[in-house]
């Protein structure tokens, strides 16, 4: 069962990397990053169940907290970027700040 969980985790991680590299919509890029974190969490939980040790569950709890703080920052970035450029295209966001080059 542990091997099946690890293989599923690798597959989900690869799908997340593909989405992260090949898409230009920033919301989809953000959700791909969340998918990477979830794949890592899945393998941590499988290892913790296999070793009968709950330390890995605490680790994935901390990863979930980090993902929540990341979500808050990303959402405010979306609002600011959309207000300045009226687009979700990642290719447009090459400078930070409001000086239009």
């Amino acid at each position: 069962m542990l091997k099946a969980y690890m293989i599923l985790s690798i597959l989900l991680f690869s799908i997340g990397v593909v989405g992260l590299i090949s898409r230009r919509n920033i919301i989809v890029i953000y959700m791909s990053i969340e998918l990477l974190l979830n794949a890592v969490n899945l393998s941590l939980i499988a290892i913790s169940a296999d070793m009968a040790d709950s330390s890995a569950q605490v680790m994935s709890l901390i990863i979930i907290a980090i993902a929540a703080s990341e979500a808050a920052l990303f959402m405010s970035l979306f609002v600011v970027l959309f207000r300045n450029r009226a687009s979700l295209d990642a290719n447009l966001f090459d400078i930070l700040g409001n000086k239009h080059a």
Partner: protein
């Protein structure tokens, strides 16, 4: 046997919905299919007796984070001309999959060959909130406090970023 069938179904649902998530054109479609991925991952947690993490995954990920994403997508009032015109999106997805596939094939091959399963015997209250909480507040106190500082920084940063600078 029952567990294997459940695992196969949930894994299939997770993979298909995440593929839909990275290939959908409109962000609302990808957010809705990402909810399906997260809930099936939560069910996979429950399948290995991680009951507390199952509840946390449902409440925080599928509840808080995804409803925040859906709220932002609807709040921004995104029209079709605001989306990037990804003319070669399918070609990009195919090319990146071809690049990534060997790496995941190597990893899967390593996992298949290795002998990683320990098959430890879980005690009575494994994965419950008492077990995880005792571990969190005895061995993991320092990371816990660091995470609380990180959450404070993210809170201040989100407020500062979204303030209009006039």
């Amino acid at each position: 046997m029952q567990n294997e069938i459940l695992f196969a179904t949930l894994a299939l649902v997770a993979i298909v919905s995440s593929i839909v998530m990275i290939s959908a054109h409109r962000p609302i479609d990808s957010a809705l299919s990402f909810i399906v991925t997260l809930i099936s991952i939560a069910a996979l947690f429950a399948l290995v007796n991680a009951t507390f993490l199952f509840v946390v995954q449902i409440i925080i990920y599928a509840g808080a984070i995804l409803s925040l994403i859906l709220f932002i997508i609807m709040f921004l009032n995104i029209k079709d001309e605001n989306l990037p015109d990804e003319k070669y999106k399918n070609r990009w997805l195919l090319a990146t999959s071809i690049i990534i596939a060997p790496f995941s094939a190597i990893l899967i091959d390593l996992i298949m060959r290795s002998d990683i399963a320990v098959n430890g015997v879980a005690s009575e209250g494994f994965g419950t909130i008492k077990d995880v909480g005792l571990n969190l507040f005895s061995k993991w106190v320092l990371p816990f406090e660091l995470v609380s500082i990180l959450l404070l920084v993210a809170l201040v940063g989100a407020v500062t970023l979204s303030k209009r600078s006039e």
